[in-house]
């Protein structure tokens, strides 16, 4: 095993996943650098969600390499391990803990000892309280801190989930369709927030909404049938013959 000397943060090579003969990922290769933001686009069934599943340990690839920081083999770790390594994931539909308060949602996500017994005896420290305050401020939920998460609007839940991701202090954020179901203003705000986050961490955004991708203004990877079709700036990718063919049909 010859790990790269200056490791990319996330390195996928030749990753293949098949379900009952159907290849959801077909020899996919991808590299994400530290503090890089990347947008992943592609039509339905291109393998975007499956790729996220492989990175976060939900799905084991049939073959291929998935390395984090050049040394951690993601294909042999489970979700909890990978999350603790510093990979955070936001789902397509916002998933927060409905019955907990907004504050508790953040508290549960805060980087801390994740084992049951330390958790049982855990007390909230002043440092943690400050972290929670800062995070709530950042995702604009300070005024809602005592409300139940179930009472939040769709957009607020999306932001709460992003806040929870940040509380994990991840090195890499995987964000699945953050703009889905949002108003234009919310979409723009979300793009700002993600750009801000990407200053210090790597962010991978899967998105359908081309306006949003344009807003992000980052390198774009287009997936099709489980492998990379084109990579580059949005303009370059959208000028690519094959991409046009895939999106518009023959």
């Amino acid at each position: 095993m010859n790990a790269p000397v200056t490791p990319t943060l996330l390195y996928l090579d030749n990753v293949t996943v098949s379900f009952d003969g159907f290849r959801a990922l077909n020899a996919l290769s991808l590299a994400i650098d530290h503090a890089e933001m990347r947008a992943i686009i592609g039509p339905n069934g291109a393998g975007k969600t499956t790729m996220m599943d492989v990175i976060t340990g939900k799905t084991r690839p049939n073959e291929g390499t998935a390395l984090f920081e050049g040394s951690y083999d993601l294909t042999s770790l489970d979700e909890a391990d990978i999350a603790q390594l510093g990979i955070g994931r936001k789902f397509q539909t916002p998933t927060v803990f409905d019955m907990h308060s907004v504050e508790d949602n953040i508290l549960l996500a805060l980087k801390d000892d994740r084992r049951p017994f330390p958790t049982l005896f855990s007390r909230r420290t002043r440092l943690e309280r400050e972290r929670i305050d800062a995070l709530l401020e950042r995702v604009r939920l300070t005024g809602h801190r005592h409300r139940k998460a179930s009472e939040l609007s769709h957009g607020q839940k999306q932001w709460l989930e992003i806040g929870m991701l940040l509380a994990q202090e991840p090195k890499l954020l995987l964000v699945d369709e953050p703009a889905a179901g949002m108003t234009d203003q919310e979409t723009a705000d979300t793009a700002d927030l993600l750009r801000d986050i990407a200053k210090t961490r790597a962010v991978v955004v899967v998105e359908h909404d081309m306006t949003f991708v344009r807003d992000l203004g980052v390198k774009v990877t287009c997936l099709h049938e489980g492998s990379v079709l084109a990579e580059g700036s949005l303009d370059a990718v959208s000028a690519d013959e094959r991409v046009i063919e895939v999106y518009l049909g023959r």
């Binding site: 379900f19 009952d20 159907f22 959801a24 969600t49 499956t50």
Partner: protein, 531 residues
């Protein structure tokens, strides 16, 4: 006067006797005389003599002796038939009037009885009726009476019927093997014949062979061969029991495969639908018994559609009043249907009483089919065929009818199905009714092999869930394979572990299996399932 008359009578008797012996003397008559001495040893000789005489009366004499209807005394032997009429054994002529006072039934003991058996066997070996010859050959096989050897050889020479001939040869082999002074070569040949017979009798004979070492060795080898063949039959019989149990499980679980497997509804009252089907059978039979007894043979066929309608109707009622409010909340559905099952049990208990009700078996379902070393009872055969029939019918319904199509559509994507104009509410109700109705007809079949009591359904619910979960949810084929696997595994385990321990072992195995493959044998894979 008295003296004179008595002496005259004695003289007459003597005259008669000498006349008989002079006029009709022959081996048969000589043998008959031995019956009159009231000695077991003589009776024994008499039987052999009579049997080998070839006299047309001989069979009647020995049969009469067996049944205690052979009277002897004062030099005469008389046959009394069941109605009390007398026939002279020597002449075959009827005797008028009551039995002479000096005649007493010839006594028999066990040794005599064996001789009778052997004699009857050898005598009927020549009967024109093939069935009688077969019985006789079997009797000789059991008695192993060396005296029957000559007649056996004679019978073999003229026997045309292959089945009878086989048995005759085996009988001959049995005699050769147990009789003294038979050459080793003949005995080994006999072992070969017995080995071909290969049943428990032959095994017993072969294992008790003594004598020359090569004979004993051959017998032991043959016995081992038979033993392993018997074991094979035994295993096959167990497999059959397993298939039969598997069919019962299939019947009980297949309705569940629809409600749980395709609709995701945990119906804990499923067993009660089976129970209701069984009680429907009971009611149908009661009505037939009192109103039109001639239809009894068809009672199950009348009960089938009724059970489907009754159980299906109750199912639809349950779906409309309870379950439809609980879609998407499987655990709550489980609890509510458990409550319903308690109520249904108590309702049946209140109406029909807590004890078992008698459900009769039509004549065409009793008896058994012998197949090689297997014994298949007709009611089990009927249930196996019925279970597979129901399975096939359900498969066709799900695949080729619009109801099946709609159910599958609703299962896969409720909202999309709804927006395409499928009335999902109605499909839910119908699918639930279908599952319940199938449980009802399962109840008709199970009423034939289980006690019809309010607790009938309880006994099946855990097993049915195990079958569906083991086979893989949402897959009828999985249910079939699951039911058969569990049924056969259960019956194959039973001889080693006993019924209860076998069942425990199986339950633990399933629990462990579910850990390995949480979605069963035939699980759907892919992203859609995870959602």
């Amino acid at each position: 006067m008295m003296i004179l008359r008595d002496s005259l009578r004695a003289l007459l008797v003597l005259l008669a006797l000498s006349w008989a012996s002079v006029a009709m003397a022959g081996p048969y008559e000589d043998a008959l005389q031995k019956f009159t001495t009231d000695s077991y040893a003589d009776t024994d000789t008499a039987i052999v003599g009579v049997a080998s005489s070839g006299n047309p009366q001989a069979l009647a004499v020995v049969e009469a002796l067996r049944d205690g209807r052979l009277l002897a005394g004062a030099g005469r032997v008389v046959i009394r038939d069941a109605s009390g009429a007398m026939t002279d054994a020597a002449t075959g002529q009827a005797i008028a009037g009551a039995a002479p006072a000096d005649l007493k039934p010839v006594r028999v003991n066990n040794r005599v009885r064996r001789a009778i058996e052997a004699a009857l066997g050898s005598m009927t070996l020549m009967s024109p009726d093939a069935g009688k010859r077969l019985d006789a050959a079997r009797a000789v096989f059991r008695s192993k009476d060396a005296a029957a050897l000559p007649i056996l050889d004679q019978a073999l020479a003229q026997e045309k019927d292959a089945t009878v001939k086989t048995i005759l040869e085996e009988a001959r082999a049995a005699i050769l093997l147990s009789a003294p002074d038979i050459s080793s070569a003949d005995r080994i040949a006999a072992i070969g014949v017995l080995k071909a017979r290969g049943n428990q009798d032959a095994l017993a004979l072969l294992s008790s062979v003594t004598g020359a070492p090569e004979v004993v060795e051959a017998a032991q080898a043959a016995a081992a061969g038979i033993r392993s063949r018997l074991e094979l039959w035994n295993a096959l019989q167990n497999v059959w029991y397993g298939i039969s149990l598997g069919s019962v499980l299939l019947l009980a679980a297949i309705g569940l495969a629809i409600t749980f497997g395709t609709m995701g509804v945990i119906n804990m009252a499923h067993g009660e639908m089976v129970m209701i089907g069984a009680y429907t059978t009971f009611v149908v039979q009661e009505i037939i018994r009192t109103q039109m007894p001639g239809l009894f043979g068809a009672s199950l066929f009348i009960a089938l559609p009724l059970a489907f309608v009754v159980a299906g109707g109750i199912g639809i009622l349950i779906e409309r009043t309870v379950i439809r409010f609980l879609y998407g909340r499987p655990l709550e559905t489980l609890l509510a249907t458990w409550g319903l099952s308690l109520m249904l049990q108590q309702a049946v208990r209140s109406i029909f009483g807590p004890t078992n009700r008698e459900v009769g078996t039509p004549a065409w379902m009793s008896g058994a089919l012998e197949l090689g070393g297997l014994s298949l009872t007709y009611n089990r055969i009927a249930i196996v065929i019925f279970a597979f029939g129901v399975f096939a019918a359900l498969l066709l319904v799900m695949r080729y009818t619009s109801l099946g199509l709609f159910v599958r559509a609703v299962t896969q994507n409720r909202r999309m199905a709804g927006s395409m104009g499928i009335r999902t509410n109605r499909i839910d109700a119908l699918a639930f009714g279908l599952g319940s109705g199938v449980a009802g007809i399962a109840g008709v079949a199970l009423s034939q092999i289980d006690n019809v009591s309010p607790n009938l359904g309880q006994g099946y619910i855990i097993d049915s869930f195990m079958v569906v979960v083991f086979g893989g949810v949402g897959n009828l084929w999985g249910t079939l394979v699951g039911a058969m696997t569990l049924g056969i595994a259960n019956k194959l385990l039973e001889p080693y572990a006993g019924a209860v321990l076998g069942k425990i072992v199986l339950l633990i195995a399933i629990i462990l299996f579910i850990q390995r493959r949480p979605r069963g044998l035939f699980a759907l894979k892919g992203r859609a399932v995870e959602a």
